[in-house]
Amino acid sequence: MSVDMAELSKVTVTSRPAPGTTMGRALRAEWTKLRTSPGTLGLLLAVVAGTTGLSATVAAACSGGTCGADVALTGVQLGQAVVAILAVLAIGNEYSTGMFTVTLTAMPRRLPVLVGKAVVVAAMVAAAAAVAVAGSVVAGEILLPAYHATFRPAAGSVLYLVLIALLSLGIATAVRSPAAAIGTVLTVLYAVPIIVSVVTDPVWHDRFEKYSPVSAGLAVQATGPDPLIGPWKGLGVLALWTLAALLAGAILLKRRDA
């Protein structure tokens, strides 16, 4: 078989490396991916609508003045479910459609892929959460006589939602099936706090309250006196859970066949 040398050299000349680092390209690719997924915009809007809507509803119901100021950010407890779904789908959709093999063919170094997804999801969720929390604060100012906006619960709530998103991403990376991942995350978000609340032994109840991801994380919203765990410390506990989930996801992703 004769080879047209002119054509052959053309092929090799054009395949010189393009600019950019592996990490930079992974970030750009993941950004394009999430941006062009039609579900993303809707979910981000749902984060804002769900969080602000629930916060405003609760604040309006409490306008008699019977509630404490901390109800102003109640909507975060709804927004977290939407944030979790968005983060789970960011990788779960790829597992369920088989597209993840295409991703890993394009970017065979797997850690940058996960880091890219984490950064992009965190950035999008942070933006939506900031709007959502701002909306809740405004609703509180208008509807709750006892409420005065303070920095820590508001900023902490944004960080809380970002951490929940990353926790969900880590879990979804580990378990692969989006349904299983969403089930696991919703259990962590809603079932665990219920179980903790019915533990009767006071020592164990306090321990769970301080070290389970959601109750510890939500301590950052506390405005009342004498919390079980300090607000930033509580958020730190959630951050450790998130780190553990991402690490578990990363290790499994690196070790197993795609």
Binding site: R25, E30, T36, N93, P108
Partner: protein, 302 residues
């Protein structure tokens, strides 16, 4: 270009690859053929670093695929045309892939035109027929203008027009000096397309030969001659051939090439109305080679 060396891979108790070894050379279409379960897809997944082999290695341009900085500029591949998010448009699917290789939107539009998808670029890929998805997969494989391409069953789901397009396309890619590896479980699909064939069964290579060699080996040199002459068998036997009547007025001859038979008969003044060499099809050659390698064979009625 692509070098596969002694790859072994087990999934639990099942041996998927059992010392798979071959090489894919530039400037030709190499067919990668074997029955279902022979290990074709697993081999491709190992080449791409998706599955880790238990032993052996696969190299693309001398390097493991995972170590290539922008792998799609070295090896373009299509494993599963359905592996995409159905809600994303064709163009956006290619766009994120381009970005992952440091390429831009202009290259995306080029490959869309090249594969005839320009008109449907902004439609959701989920609405595409399998044939259109195959084209989209080919477009993705071409993004990095790679010197080597690897396609798993690209003819699947294509209509006759699509198959003709695909054949011409594969030929032109090889004509540009690229190495093209194409898997199929139907040898017939590769006749007229592949220059070289690697036949696999039970996780290893059964035959690695040019299409011409493969056809010759399967043809067994049998030639039929149609003649009225009663002396013909004797004359041919004297020249060193074995002649047996076929039952319908012809002679089936082995032991001499067609040119020699014609010459001998001519020299003895024997007239004949037909002289045909039995050419095996690629399919015949393949069936002969894989007879023992088919994992699940239907048994006759008992």
């Amino acid at each position: 270009m692509i070098l596969v060396n002694g790859i072994r891979k087990r999934f639990g108790a099942a041996v998927a690859l059992d010392g798979m070894t071959f090489e894919v050379r530039p400037g030709q279409v190499t067919g990668f053929v074997g029955p279902n379960g022979a290990g074709k897809s697993t081999t491709m997944r190992v080449i791409l670093g998706l599955d880790r082999p238990d032993a052996g290695q696969a190299l693309v341009e001398g390097k493991p695929y995972r170590e290539l900085a922008d792998p799609m500029r070295h090896l373009g591949s299509l494993l599963d045309a359905g592996a995409l998010q159905p809600s994303r448009t064709a163009r956006n699917h290619l766009l994120w892939l381009a970005h992952s290789q440091g390429l831009g939107a202009r290259r995306v539009d080029e490959v869309l035109e090249q594969t005839g998808l320009g008109g449907v670029a902004r439609r959701r890929a989920g609405g595409f027929s399998l044939g259109m998805r195959q084209r989209l997969g080919i477009a993705a494989a071409l993004l990095g203008d790679p010197p080597a391409l690897m396609l798993d069953e690209p003819f699947n789901g294509m209509d006759p027009e699509g198959i003709i397009w695909m054949r011409g396309f594969l030929r032109s890619l090889a004509g540009q000096g690229r190495a093209v590896l194409v898997s199929s479980h139907l040898m017939g699909e590769l006749q007229g397309t592949a220059d070289h064939v690697i036949v696999v069964g039970r996780g290893r290579v059964i035959a690695d030969a040019s299409v011409a060699e493969l056809l010759n080996s399967a043809s067994s040199g049998r030639i039929t001659v149609r003649t009225e002459s009663p002396e013909a068998p004797g004359i041919l036997a004297a020249a060193g051939a074995t002649a047996a009547p076929t039952g319908d007025g012809g002679l089936s001859i082995t032991g001499l090439p067609a040119e020699r038979i014609a010459e001998v008969l001519h020299r003895h003044g024997v007239t004949f109305s037909e002289l045909a060499a039995h050419r095996a099809t690629l399919e015949d050659a393949y069936l002969e080679l894989t007879r023992d390698a088919v994992e699940f064979r239907a048994e006759g009625p008992r």
